[in-house]
Symmetry: C2
Subunit: 517 residues, 2 copies
């Protein structure tokens, strides 16, 4: 009878906690669509610099090869010090001053200042680390090989596109500009980290060390291959935040086994942490796992701005093909609630998430081991949209667990950072669109990426617009045979290395010449 | 709004499915306690045979050593054929006929018939396989070493107590009886398996091959070291059944990823199998994980018989020390519902269970991998008491999942068998108690073990009483330094090898002389 009353009380709890908890719809107040083509194309022409790039292209390519041939695997601390020193030395050779390795609790950052005596200053964000190489490479991952493919001649190496290729191409553009004109049209502040592939745990330390100098800049750029295999250009104005945490049930708080697993027959008389974890997790979502039942979980979400709506409205045009491609590449038959078109894009970019990344308890090997495990763990992540905060969401989850009697469940924060957002009307955004338009690639501009990066240090700490942009195409960032196209096939819309560099030259001048502030 | 209605419907579902579902209390109708001391002690004395055992004790010990020196690790298929042949050859040497290796889909069984021309026939169940040896042995696991310990001189070897020691001691008793009297007082049917440590998957095949011959017997005995380190004797009249199964959620049925994990940010628009598994599992129990919500789950349980109640009442006397020992060895602070005494014993021995043995999904290694896993799996076991069946319980779980909308969850049966129960009033039970009483060890008789074994082949198929009994003490069955006491310390209540064998001699004669049927 006690057990039944307990069960009934549990049911009532669930019932109460369900009140009107469901992902709120994203409300649109306009059907107007942003038209990137309406932004005037940049008109500057820097022919002498372009000619210098063309004349020195083999040497410029060698610079990319030199970078990718230096392994810098952050997860394995392999070549990290060497690559940091290489980057610092390259900056000094280009005339940067105050060049320094920036100590952190992890791998060092690299800082450098190019003083052009210019009115405007651009922060250039770089990452000098790469993913570990995996099996399945057709060339040595650190050989810097040139390979002929269906897309043309590519540099195939770890880091070719993520991110050494575009970064060194940017520095090549800087080198040619200085060689031809004597100096750059804008000042540069380079801040590089060696832990991007680890989730940038210490990047805020690097930014903090130069916070005041960086704050005085006009924007942040991450050299990036923004072209798809068919040449279309796209970029994002923001990223979601993320908070990663673990929920864990132990035997101790309720009487389950505290030291080690015990024989499964003892379930008759001993509490099981695995069931407690399952029950605690189950209170967090609706039965389909798609709406979060934690009170207040959706409260802080700010509705999309007018500009963000215009961007989504533009993305939603002709989205059927994009959705079909997504379904195929993800191997899914449908999206949540059978969403399509604008609703799907809105949910993906403006929706928060609560996801189970990993779940484990007891014996998970081949065969059967009849045990009652003493611990059960779930690793989760929440993706955050403006104005959600990592701490706020974790507090709500903790409070919800406590309110439902799950105060025995341990909540361990692993990492977390808020979202980052650059407004469409930031001058740097118009500048980027105008340069893409000059090169004949009207960009698809998304209000944000569904993924996460700690760019809040730029947008929130430094109050700067922040863009990852560039011509060029590469792929395989975290896979074998990573590449960046160097010489595209005849007729391809992909930019070759020379045009990638010329784009960056234009970006620097367009920024210097822009009228906005 | 659709999501909210879905959530509300889910809550109503849960509410409905909760109706009066809780583990039913075990109702006692008597406080009478079984008194094993009231069973008349066996009065037979077989001095000539005892003298033969004493005179040949060094040779008998060598037989135990010969057995443990032959590795027979079923999990590694190491020495299995050799040990089966050794056992068969030993049976032939003792005068057994129809000795045969019994082919199965796994390791072979061994059969042998000793025809004493007697009225009564005993089936002797044996296992000839052992667990793999682990690290931490102070002697070679297969050396058959004699070691002096706090308990006296012991045989320390893999299989010393589980189960080669008591088995070969039984055959030594047989050998001495035949040597002195020319034949045994009962006929013997030996059925041995080489897969006990694998869960006896093919043992039913062995029994089935000799079903008619075995059925005509009077009981089944498993030679067993029934003494605790302090010399107390205990044995069980039954075992629970068990059904092992997996529940698995895949992306396919609901739209989640079908082929592989996808990026965790996609949770915004893609269904997650891990949440579905968690939600499905959560419907199976109350929030504390201790009562099962599956309709009908408790329906088939037959209440304890009058005799079973008397056994529990006897066990409950002076149970505080036993409970304290259990709490310490299991490292638990309390038992479910703070049960103690008779209630605790009753729940442990008469309660069914639903336990999570293993749970896994996604990335479970060091660090964080932000993914949405495409599959999530739970491995569970249900312990069955009379009159529950493996198929019946799985059908109820399947029906419950379907009724709650979880028809997308796959249920895979791994193995299963029903419980086995020998009644207290079976003649073999009185015989065993009477022989223990003769040796001054009034046994603690439990109605059953909370654990499981496929002894239904004896109790249900053959309709025979089935006991694991013997004098002697050993420990470390699945651990380093497994041992069986050979020469106990002066003053110890543990039987030495000679008395272990004399007990078996008495068992054979007591069975032959028993008046009951």
């Amino acid at each position: 009878m006690r057990a039944f009353l307990r069960a009934l009380a549990g049911a009532i709890c669930l019932q109460l906690s369900l009140t009107a908890l469901a992902a709120p719809p994203v409300v649109f107040t306009t059907d107007e669509a942003f038209d990137a083509a309406s932004v005037s194309a940049y008109t500057g022409a820097h022919d002498a610099i372009y000619a210098h790039i063309d004349a020195n292209l083999p040497a410029h390519l060698s610079e990319l090869q030199r970078w990718v041939r230096q392994p810098s695997v952050s997860a394995q601390n392999r070549g990290i010090q060497e690559m940091a020193a290489l980057l610092a030395s390259d900056l000094e050779a280009l005339g940067f001053r105050d060049v320094a390795l920036v100590p952190t609790a992890g791998h060092p950052g690299v800082f450098g200042f190019y003083d052009a005596g210019a009115a405007r200053t651009l922060v250039v964000y770089m990452m000098y680390d790469v993913q570990p190489e995996e099996t399945g490479w057709q060339v040595g991952a650190f050989d810097g090989a040139l390979v002929d493919t269906d897309l043309g001649r590519v540099l195939m190496a770890r880091g070719a596109t993520n991110q050494k290729g575009p970064e060194r191409a940017f520095l090549n553009a800087v080198a040619s500009t200085i060689a031809v004109t004597g100096k750059l049209p804008v000042n540069l502040l380079v801040v590089a980290e060696g832990e991007e592939e680890l989730g940038s745990p210490h990047f805020p330390e690097i930014i903090n060390a130069y916070r005041d100098r960086l704050k005085a800049a006009d924007g942040v750029m991450f050299p990036f291959n923004s072209q798809s295999p068919t040449g279309e250009v796209g970029f994002n104005l923001g990223v979601k935040g993320a908070v990663l945490f673990e929920l864990e049930a132990h035997g101790a708080p309720r009487g389950g086994p505290q030291r080690a697993e015990i024989h499964s027959s003892l379930k008759a008389i001993v509490d099981a942490p695995a069931w407690r974890l399952v029950q605690a997790l189950a209170t967090l979502t609706t039965p389909d796992g798609n709406d979060v039942r934690v009170p207040g979980f959706y409260d802080d979400i700010r509705p999309p701005t007018f500009d963000e709506q215009r961007l989504v409205n533009a993305m939603a045009k002709d989205s059927a093909a994009r959705e079909a491609g997504m379904r195929q590449s993800l191997a899914v038959d449908r999206f949540i609630d059978d969403l399509t078109g604008r609703d799907l894009i809105a949910r993906q970019l403006f929706g928060t998430t609560l996801n189970i990344n990993g779940l484990w308890s007891g014996y998970t090997g081949v065969g059967m081991k009849t045990i009652l495990p003493h611990v059960a763990t779930a690793r989760l992540d929440v993706r955050l949209v403006p104005n959600q905060t990592p701490g706020g969401q974790l507090e709500r989850i903790r409070a919800h667990l406590d309110a439902n009697g799950f105060d025995d469940i341990e909540l361990r924060k692993l990492s977390g950072y808020p979202p980052a957002q650059t407004p469409l009307d930031a001058p740097l955004v118009s500048t980027a669109i105008s340069v893409f338009n000059k090169w004949g690639h009207v960009p698809n501009v998304a209000p944000r990426l569904a993924g996460s990066a700690p760019y809040y240090v730029f947008t929130d700490w430094l109050k700067l617009p922040n863009l990852a942009v560039g011509l060029g195409h590469g792929s395989g960032a975290h896979a074998p045979n990573e590449y960046m196209v160097i010489e595209p096939k005849e007729g391809s819309s992909i930019a070759g290395l020379a045009d990638v560099e010329k784009f960056y030259v234009d970006m620097l001048y367009a920024m210097a010449e822009a009228s906005g502030d």
